[in-house]
């Protein structure tokens, strides 16, 4: 009796329009999803066009900036021994007070074991020479221009009551943030801070062509627990966040579409109960339990929403692809290729069916509890 009753309900005139109503709503969702997929895919493709071989930094675990960080200076020599590491450069960055004619200014001093090598790696131009001893330093072009520092000048620098005098032997341009710094030997760091054996960071550059995941795993094995490895050029993370921003909105928007699906399902089940009240009364008269009515309404909604959602996913995806092709005829620069993943289609169908069930429950329950003479809702 159950299957017969369901068949007769599905053959009512309103079923086709109910399926279309659900299908059109799902089509909105799947077309939006397929276009978003294309945009995200394009973003990921763009990401591959940029060479992401930026250095990795070893910083102390609790630091938010380089100047606050302290790591063991010995780490650099351990890491240099790895075949996957092209170079590992320990650096100490100190904030120091520079006495100028205009007053005291805070500047950064980057202390290095090999200033010349550091400048060469950055492809810098230098007017002068690199420091030969700890009393000499090179100044970046931007810092030199900002505080009127010239080659041959002697600068007095202070950190917490300790002072040193450094002679500027070269002005360099590296097109990096070092142009706003003073480059000096590592001894200066020990003189100004009194700290020995620690640096602010170790900058690591991997050998070209090595598997970065494997290389990072090797590096991580040598690191103590209180340090962290930071990737500098986080292109993948950046593009992922850009995509996530779109998806976050799409998810909230989808919630409203599912609310409309639930509302549509409410209408569909109400219509079914109104237009098929005679059939339901007949079933009751023939001895059907109240539960059967509820089951029939739920089964009807489930069938309609399932067919509607499958149709909707197909319609939305095919529709957006057709629209993209037509758009390309008028705007050749627009190269849209919308697509939908299988799991997304499955997710959409599942959520649509769930929303529909939710939407039809109230009218079905009301009808089940109503007496034969009453009209629900």
């Amino acid at each position: 009796m159950y299957s017969l009753a369901l068949k007769s309900l599905l053959r009512t005139g309103g079923t086709a329009s109910s399926i279309v109503a659900i299908a059109l709503l799902v089509a909105i969702l799947s077309s939006a999803q397929s276009i978003t997929n294309h945009i995200n895919f394009q973003t990921e493709m763009l990401e591959k066009l940029v060479y992401a071989g930026g250095p990795y930094l070893i910083l102390s675990g609790n630091s938010t900036s380089i100047t606050d960080s302290r790591v063991d200076a010995g780490l650099a020599s351990k890491l240099s021994g790895l075949s996957c590491v092209r170079w590992a450069v320990p650096q100490r960055v100190i904030e120091a007070e520079l006495e100028t004619s205009a007053g005291s200014r805070t500047i950064n001093i980057r202390c290095l074991d090999d200033v010349r090598g550091f400048l060469e790696r950055m492809g810098s131009y230098i007017n002068g020479t690199t420091p030969e001893s700890w009393v000499e330093a090179d100044v970046g072009e931007v810092l030199a221009r900002a505080y009127n520092v010239n080659r041959g000048d002697e600068l007095e620098l202070g950190v917490g009551g300790k002072h040193v005098k450094l002679k500027i032997v070269g002005v360099f341009r590296s097109q990096t943030n070092s142009d706003a710094e003073l480059l000096a030997s590592m001894e200066i760091a020990y003189m100004l801070t009194g700290e020995n054996g620690t640096v602010s960071l170790v900058e690591i550059v991997l050998q070209q062509g090595v598997d970065s995941r494997e290389a990072l795993s090797q590096i991580a094995q040598l690191l103590p627990e209180n340090v962290r490895l930071v990737q500098t050029q986080q292109l993948k993370e950046f593009t992922q966040q850009m995509n996530m921003q779109t998806l976050a909105f799409l998810n909230v928007w989808s919630f409203v579409v599912y609310a409309v699906v639930a509302a549509a399902s409410y209408i569909i089940s109400t219509r079914l109960l109104t237009e098929s009240s005679y059939e339901f009364s007949m079933l009751r008269a023939l001895g059907a339990e109240k539960r059967l009515t509820l089951t029939l309404v739920l089964a009807y909604t489930l069938t309609v929403s399932l067919i509607g959602s499958v149709l909707g996913v197909a319609l939305g995806t095919a529709g957006s692809q057709t629209a993209s092709t037509m758009l390309r005829w008028f705007l050749p620069s627009v190269d849209l290729a919308p697509f939908i993943e299988l799991w997304q289609a499955f997710q959409t169908i599942t959520l649509t069916v769930a929303s529909s069930i939710l939407g039809c429950t109230y009218p079905a329950l009301r009808f089940t509890h109503a007496r034969c003479v009453e009209q629900p809702l």
């Binding site: 329009s17 109910s18 279309v20 109503a21 059109l24 709503l25 909105i28 940029v50 930026g54 250095p55 930094l57 910083l59 938010t64 900036s65 380089i66 100047t67 606050d68 960055v93 950064n108 931007v142 810092l143 221009r145 900002a146 341009r173 097109q175 990096t176 943030n177 142009d179 706003a180 930071v230 500098t232 050029q233 986080q234 993370e237 950046f238 966040q241 850009m242 921003q245 779109t246 976050a248 909105f249 909230v252 928007w253 409203v256 579409v257 609310a259 409309v260 509302a263 549509a264 409410y266 209408i267 109400t270 219509r271 109104t274 237009e275 705007l331 620069s333 627009v334 009209q375 809702l377």
Partner: protein, 392 residues
Amino acid sequence: MRLTGFRYLRRQRVAALVVITAFPSMLFSMTAFSLLGFYRGFSAYLGEGEDIMVIYDRNSRTPYTGLVPVYLADRIRAVSGVLASSAEAIAPCTLKGESVFLRGIVPEDFSKLNKLTMMEGEMIRLEDLNFMVVGRNVAERLGLNLNDKVLVSSVLTGRYLDLQVKGVFVSHSPIDDEIVAPIYVGQWLRGADYAHATIIRVKIDAKTVSRSDVLRVVEEEASGQPPPGREEEEPTEEPIIPRIVIRFRAEDIGVEEAASFMRSYMDRYGVTRESLMTLSLAVFFFSSVSIALGYKVIIAQHRGEVDVLRCLGASKRFMKVDLLAKLLPWSILASFTGTAMALATLTVIQSCGYLRVLSHTVPVQPDLLAIALNLGFIILLSALTILKSELR
């Protein structure tokens, strides 16, 4: 026969109809307001008004990735009627693991184009080597406070640096979602040399200077063939930035009104105000079947009452007009309720940070055309459904 005072439609059923009509209306309004908000926000990204021009790289596929000679800013500034000329280097970065755009500027020039109100701290100066000011939205999103020092890492190059927060500003513009630092910081993180910036924004006195005058200066500079790499020794107000005159081709550089420059990027991908409105309307039409079903159901639910009135002498047409008169105010209410629900939802999700595109908050603003279309189509749909319905 007069039925004005005869309330034969059940309140609960009408309430259900209002809810059912309000949801598609909400969906349409939400789609239209967010898409048009994005369009409006993106168009206004570099400034609004005919007096703001942008000098840009014609070969760039996005507004963030072009490169133009910085020295053009000085040349254009010297033209009579040009009120401000601001070279800006925009760099996508990560900060505390979050994506953010950093804009390198010359503060003195930038302030003539954008008024930044400092909520905390103070504005940066060009010689503030390791400082930045952050927009209110960025400060809230990343939990940045005055004097915080953070590691900023470039996305396009392997460069990184510490920057200290010198101030938090509000501008009620897309810049509230950005970090602002001296121009050379932007150039480092963008991977550009000191001769290039992403764009140059120019503010003109529209009565005395036009776009073609600015374009002429650019063309003259391009044809002047200055020696490549020559550094200007002329005294400048900001000696921090090396002034480098470079050779460029006039056809590579464009001059456009700021808003139309941004719109031209969207036009390339078929994104126009009209196409977005059409897309929103498509959403409405796709969901309108539910509204039509709703009206059909309410008529079916009241078939008994309608049949009785028909037996008492009411014509079909009379009944349909009466149904329409009784349901139309509710349709209008449903349309406005949907619009209000959409605005409230968008405002909530915007404040939660879910309404962002390219790390910039999408402004939510009701669009009068969208509201009118929503109302008009709901009235039309309800009228058509009721008048076309089958009465016994």
